[in-house]
Amino acid sequence: QVSVLYFARSAELAGLRCETLRVPRQVTALQLWEEIVRVHPRLAVIRDQVVFAVRQEYVLLGDQLLVLQPGDEVAIIPPISGG
């Protein structure tokens, strides 16, 4: 079980900012995205614009294998605009 955090446009599309999701312990970033889209189909439209932050490190939506621990934070990161 991981904590999924939604920000900016992804929070608007998902309709929430935070939830716990049950996901496989080992999963590629892309597979994780697909799990999340299964729960929130409206997120599909931003697939090409987002990255993940897993335990506060950026991860592209690709084949990188993630090893997740219970309670890990996974954040959906739309294009940033700080400063």
Binding site: L5, F7, A8, A53, I80, S81, G82, G83
Partner: protein, 155 residues
């Protein structure tokens, strides 16, 4: 008593209150430094011809702080003479012309702090998980249903 050696410090703050240039620059002032360089990011009133009413910022706060810490660490590697670094970013609503970010860096001589401030803001914009939403002027933002019996009294 030994005067504090003025150990280099990073001052990172994300807050919803109005930012203060005085406060941020005073954080980095040091008797060992002849230069304090500052960057202030302020909100503009137009974007692509649309009039902006105000900006709203949100952040992945814990990660934003850790990414800013990484920027500070990189700054100190690139410019070892840098003394103190302060980065204050405002969250929530920021009215036009008010500051959304203030960065201050001190160093013994001016070249390093000037370069470091530029590096800080450029890297912040590239890597720190903060988002801004622009609220545009609309003719009248509230919608009205045509079913409403007390409006639409054109008869």
């Amino acid at each position: 008593m030994d005067e504090s050696e003025d150990v280099p410090k990073d001052f990172i703050k994300l807050k919803s209150e109005k930012l203060s240039v005085d406060e941020v620059s005073e954080l980095v002032v040091s008797p060992y430094c002849g230069a304090v360089s500052l960057f202030i990011g302020t909100t503009r009133n137009n974007f692509e011809g649309k009039k902006v009413i105000h900006l709203e910022y949100e952040a992945y706060t814990s990660m934003a702080e850790s990414e800013i810490k990484k920027i500070c660490r990189d700054v100190r590697q690139k410019w070892p003479s840098i003394k103190h670094i302060a980065v204050h970013h405002r969250l929530g609503v920021v009215p036009i012309t008010e500051a959304s970010v203030i960065i201050a860096v001190s160093s013994p001589h001016r070249a390093e702090s000037l370069e470091a401030v530029t590096y800080c803001i450029n890297t912040l914009k590239a890597s720190v998980p903060i988002w801004k939403k622009e609220i545009y002027e609309d003719k009248y933002p509230w919608k009205e249903n045509k079913e409403c019996f007390w409006a639409n009294s054109e008869k």
